[in-house]
């Protein structure tokens, strides 16, 4: 698979670390155990487009927010996670 890093361009997936399905915003401690449990363990695991976190470990060390179709491994979008919502 090839992932287009916004910094480094199209690179082989072996340069990246796959963290898994991108979780929603981390709840503050005050939000309680249920919210924390959902954040840590709750996953949608869709058959289809999925938002994921990948880390360009062997190069720029950017965490990427990636949208990938789990059925075809097609990458639909790649953005810097730090720019999410900006």
């Amino acid at each position: 698979m090839i992932i287009s890093c916004p910094h480094c361009g199209p690179r082989d997936s072996s340069e990246f670390y796959f963290r898994g399905e991108a979780t929603p915003t981390r709840p503050e401690y005050d939000a309680g155990t249920a919210a924390a449990t959902g954040y840590v363990y709750g996953r949608i695991n869709p058959a289809g487009p999925q938002k994921e976190h990948w880390y360009h470990a062997a190069a720029c060390r950017s965490w990427l927010l990636v949208e990938r179709d789990t059925r075809t491994h097609k990458f639909l979008s790649v953005t810097l996670a730090s720019e999410q919502g900006r």
């Binding site: 698979m1 401690y29 924390a36 976190h53 880390y55 060390r61 999410q84």
Partner: protein, 971 residues
């Protein structure tokens, strides 16, 4: 000799000597092993997998299921090589497989008589009971009797290379469609990579006598090659097999660099593994001729008609003297004509279609079927005419022209199943992944004219997706042909000895899905993946059940398309090159001082330093630990991860990363820090030093250096991108040496005369940045050993000088280098957790560090760490353990049991996580986790290791064995 007097693409001026089963034979340059054997009238090449039936050469290429040989000998012996795709070279040695003592007289042929037990599903039926005998008796027996060739068991002596290729267009196959596609795309300016499995380009043009543009097909192919070679945007790889299609337009291939050269090629790899990324790929992979199912269709002398054509035209060898062709398509007649032109007597063409294709001038065309064959190798066939007559015809060569299956397996590597095409009477790939298309015979365009046009159309579509080039239709064929058997085995999968009867049996027993059929009968599960016979097998099932082929479907092909040597995949990553090696800055000094090294991740760390008089490694380690307790020791700790964190919000970031408070740490101080994972369990531990208001350097354990950096980046970029802080790994930038022991202050004061190291100005947990000999230096008063101790860091390239200076100055103080084993002893004596104690399943409470969890702030893992089960006092928690009999030796991994409890998994209350021989106490001591551990100090329990067969009574004690008050480290 059956070499034809003229013709062929062989060089008669270059004879080649080779050995087959010990006999020296000769062929010509341009021959394959198969064509050279045919030239010597070798009919029986090996024996079959299950029944040990005599088998000859069936095909002319990679789909060969019968003529499998072992090439070479000793460590280079390679089993299961397909004789038709082995290029002949001087000194080649080949051996038949599956036969003893020889392929002509094989004692194991008795399996054929026992064929009733070798029916479909025999693995499941015959040997169901008793299960215990399976492993010891049945399986070895079957493997010896039925099986493929053997590996030498020796290390592979050859070298393998790896390359990467990036291209606009990958063309797989250099037959008419592939060449025309490559020409068209190259003329259009694309970068083209053309891959051909054969040693020369041309595909079927090399086997046929067709003309293209008025010239012989081979001449046209040579001209095309010349044009492509001259184009600098084109790369051509011959002798290269594509074996897999992967996600995102990646492909894998193996180039046989020196397999075809005499002797072990010096200075060249044997093979080269290619990883290819191609924006577009055209698969001009041709079609495979399918056999016809009739009695005795596996007899040596029965060949694919297309293979006969190849042997006659390309290699100028005649596989027989008197031939017949059994056909369901017009190509059978072409082969008959080629045989006649080569001077071979053609006895008949038997056409199984109800309307025969044509009549021949040189032989009778019979409308009918072959029902049986005769001879050890073929001597005669029995033909049943549709008009009622039965006749026996003496022939020693029979060609099967059963129609063509497009080679579309690569599409299903990406999960795309093919569709049955009714007019083509074959599976065709309709659904395609982005960037992949089929052309020529692989797309059902079976005639030469159509194949050329199809290749061109595919290339045009690559260059302009909206191209108006009309799609080339598929050819029409007769259905796969199955003759009702009379008394003789009818094979569909030659390599795995699967017969029509096996398929009918599987159907009777309910294994009707092709996926079940495959596993029950092993149809298509051999090394050839059923390239020749699998579709025929599925046709048998369809015709028997009276359903359409479309309803039966077919099996997905999977990588590798053809077998690949493991060595080619490993490439240069073997032996010491399997992983990179990281050396510490003091490696050379350590080696000079007798260090033995151990792998710690990729690092080589000094494990102990052998000195004259040390009885063994344990004696060395105990001596080193004692030196630290009594004088001073030095140890390279550069492998610990080091991360610098900087910025106005650095303190806030560290508060969120660590379970304990870091923002309150004064400048010039260090603090022990504990990191949790978000799920509440312990992730890593280390130290945090505050160098100035907004600048920290943190350490991680050696193993987690990379993971912690990733974790810090995640926190900074994903969770809290608004924090004004930056982090950077400086692990490789600093050499860090622990200087530990009562004399450490004196030694360091000699090294750093300008810094006051007295306890008052530089107390325990102090941190200072300064210079040593004009070089930047950082000094931390940290202690892992429990002694008065420091860690001193200098830029990596000065690490060697630093350690040598310390060793020299330390001579006065009895300074001793110590390694990881001594480090382990020292930290276990102090109850410091590391390595095996931190296995990802322990909480801060489990380690007795629950007090460190701050209640004043949010931090990663806080919410989940407070879950009831994670703070349950019944959890297995850290304790010290010492044998009741001090002479006994503890072993890590032993399970802990209540005294008197059965030593079974359900009774286990914990386990031993670290052990050490303590020189201070003169006995083995250990750390472990034990249910309700802290409440059981003084209890005697049992540590049992079923692996080692040991059971030792141990006393539960405080994990801090030595100087529990911590006076020494504050001295």
């Amino acid at each position: 000799m059956t070499r034809l007097p003229a013709g062929g693409l062989i060089d008669r001026g270059k004879p080649i000597a080779f050995r087959f089963n010990g006999r020296t034979l000769t062929g010509f340059s341009g021959d394959t092993l198969a064509s050279a054997l045919i030239a010597h009238d070798v009919k029986i090449v090996g024996r079959s997998f299950k029944y040990h039936r005599a088998r000859g050469i069936l095909t002319d290429g990679i789909d060969e299921p019968n003529a499998l040989v072992t090439l070479g000998s000793g460590a280079r012996a390679e089993p299961n090589c397909r004789a038709p795709s082995v290029e002949l070279f001087d000194g080649l040695e080949a051996y038949s497989q599956n036969c003893w003592p020889s392929p002509n007289f094989d004692l194991m042929a008795i399996n054929g008589l026992l064929s009733r037990i070798f029916v479909a599903g025999f693995y499941y039926k015959t040997f169901m009971w008793p299960a215990a005998l399976w492993e010891k008796l049945y399986e070895p027996l079957i493997r010896r009797a039925a099986g493929l060739g053997r590996l030498s068991g020796d290390p592979d002596p050859d070298t393998y290379d790896r390359s990467h290729a990036f291209t606009d267009l990958l063309v797989v196959g250099s037959g008419p469609a592939g060449l025309s596609a490559a020409l068209c795309a190259a003329r259009g300016g694309l970068r083209v990579l053309l891959i051909e499995n054969d040693s020369r380009v041309g595909g079927r043009l090399l086997s046929q006598r067709y003309k293209v543009d008025g010239e012989l097909g081979t001449a046209w192919a040579d001209a095309a090659l010349k044009e492509l070679v001259a184009n600098e945007r084109v790369t051509i790889l011959t002798r290269t097999s594509l074996f897999g299609a992967y996600d995102d337009k990646s492909f894998a291939a193996v180039e046989r660099v020196s397999d075809h050269l005499p002797g072990a090629a010096i200075g060249r790899p044997r093979q080269r593994y290619w990883k290819i990324v191609a924006a577009q790929a055209i698969f001009a992979t041709g079609a495979t001729e399918r056999p016809i199912a009739f009695g005795g269709n596996d007899r040596p002398g029965v060949m694919m008609a297309s293979a006969i054509q190849t042997y006659i035209n390309r290699y100028a060898v005649a596989p027989g003297k008197r031939a017949a062709i059994f056909t369901v398509c017009d190509t059978g007649y072409e082969v008959a004509a080629d045989l006649a032109a080569a001077g071979v007597d053609v006895a008949a063409v038997i056409d199984a279609r109800r309307q025969p294709g044509r009549s021949l001038a040189f032989a009778p065309a019979i409308s009918g079927e072959i029902v049986r064959t005769f001879g050890k190798s073929l001597t005669a066939i029995e033909v049943r005419r549709y008009d009622g007559g039965v006749e026996r015809i003496a022939v020693d060569l029979l060609g099967m022209a059963g129609g063509w299956n497009p080679n579309i397996g690569f599409a299903s590597h990406l999960g795309n199943r093919p569709d049955w095409n009714e007019s083509l009477q074959a599976f065709r790939q309709e659904k395609l992944s982005d960037g992949m298309m089929f052309a020529g015979a692989a797309d059902g365009a079976l005639t030469l004219t159509d194949a050329l046009a199809s290749g061109e159309a595919a290339a045009a579509r690559v260059m302009s997706p909206a191209s108006s080039m009309p799609p080339i239709g598929t050819s029409a064929q007769a259905s796969p042909h199955v003759v009702r058997a009379i008394g003789q085995k009818v094979f569909v999968d030659f390599q795995h000895d699967v017969t029509v009867e096996d398929i009918l049996l599987a159907d009777r027993e309910g294994y009707r899905s092709v996926e079940h059929l495959k596993r029950y009968t092993t149809l298509g599960m051999a090394t050839d993946q059923g390239k020749a016979g699998q579709v025929l097998g599925h046709a048998v099932l369809a015709q028997h059940r009276g359903v359409e082929m479309a309803a039966v479907g077919t099996i997905a092909a999977r990588p590798p398309h053809t077998p690949v040597a493991i060595g080619a995949l490993a490439g240069m990553h073997r032996g010491e090159h399997l992983k990179p090696v990281r050396l510490t800055p003091t490696h050379c000094w350590a080696a000079e001082n007798g260090a033995s090294f151990v792998n710690a991740g990729l690092w080589k760390r000094a494990q102990w330093f052998t000195r004259a008089g040390d009885a063994d490694w344990l004696a060395s380690a105990v001596r080193e630990a004692k030196a630290v307790r009594s004088a001073v020791g030095i140890c390279d700790v550069s492998t610990l991860g080091k991360i610098e964190v900087e910025g106005p919000d650095a303190a806030l970031l560290l508060d969120r990363l660590y379970a304990n408070m870091m923002s309150t740490l004064p400048v010039g101080k260090c603090r022990y820090g504990l990191m949790l994972r978000e799920d509440g369990f312990v992730f890593d531990d280390g130290t945090v030093a505050r160098l100035d208001e907004s600048r920290y350097v943190i350490t991680t354990t050696t193993v987690n250096a990379v993971a912690v950096m990733r974790h810090v980046d995640f926190a900074l970029q994903v969770i809290w991108p608004d924090l004004r802080a930056h982090a950077c790994s400086v692990t490789e930038s600093w050499a860090q040496i622990a200087v530990a022991g009562p004399q450490s202050r004196a030694l360091l004061q000699d090294l750093l005369p300008d810094i006051d190291l007295s306890n008052e100005t530089f107390p325990f947990m102090g941190a200072v940045a300064g210079t040593w000999d004009g070089i930047p230096m950082r000094l931390f008063r940290l202690s892992f050993s429990g002694e008065l101790a420091y860690e001193i860091a200098v830029p990596t390239n000065h690490g060697d000088a630093l350690v040598r200076t310390l060793a020299r100055l330390g001579q006065t103080y009895g300074c001793t280098p110590y390694g990881l084993e001594a480090l382990g002893i020292l930290r276990i004596e102090k109850g410091h957790v590391a390595g095996g104690d931190l296995n990802g399943q322990v909480t801060a409470h489990d380690l007795g560090l629950g007090r460190m969890l701050s209640r004043k702030k949010d931090f990663i893992g806080r919410a989940m760490a407070e879950r009831p089960m994670l703070v349950d006092p019944g959890r297995q928690a850290l304790v010290g353990l010492k044998p009741v009999d001090p002479t006994q030796r503890l072993s890590a991994g032993s399970h802990l049991f209540r005294s008197g409890a059965a030593h079974v998994a359900g009774e286990s209350q914990g386990h031993v996580t670290s052990v050490a021989y303590s020189g201070v106490f003169d006995q083995w001591i250990a750390l472990g986790v034990l249910a309700h551990g802290p409440q059981r100090i003084g209890e005697v329990i049992v540590a049992a290791s079923p692996m080692r067969g040991t059971r030792i009574e141990v006393e539960v004690c405080n994990p801090v064995f030595f100087d529990a008050a911590g006076e020494r480290l504050r001295a």
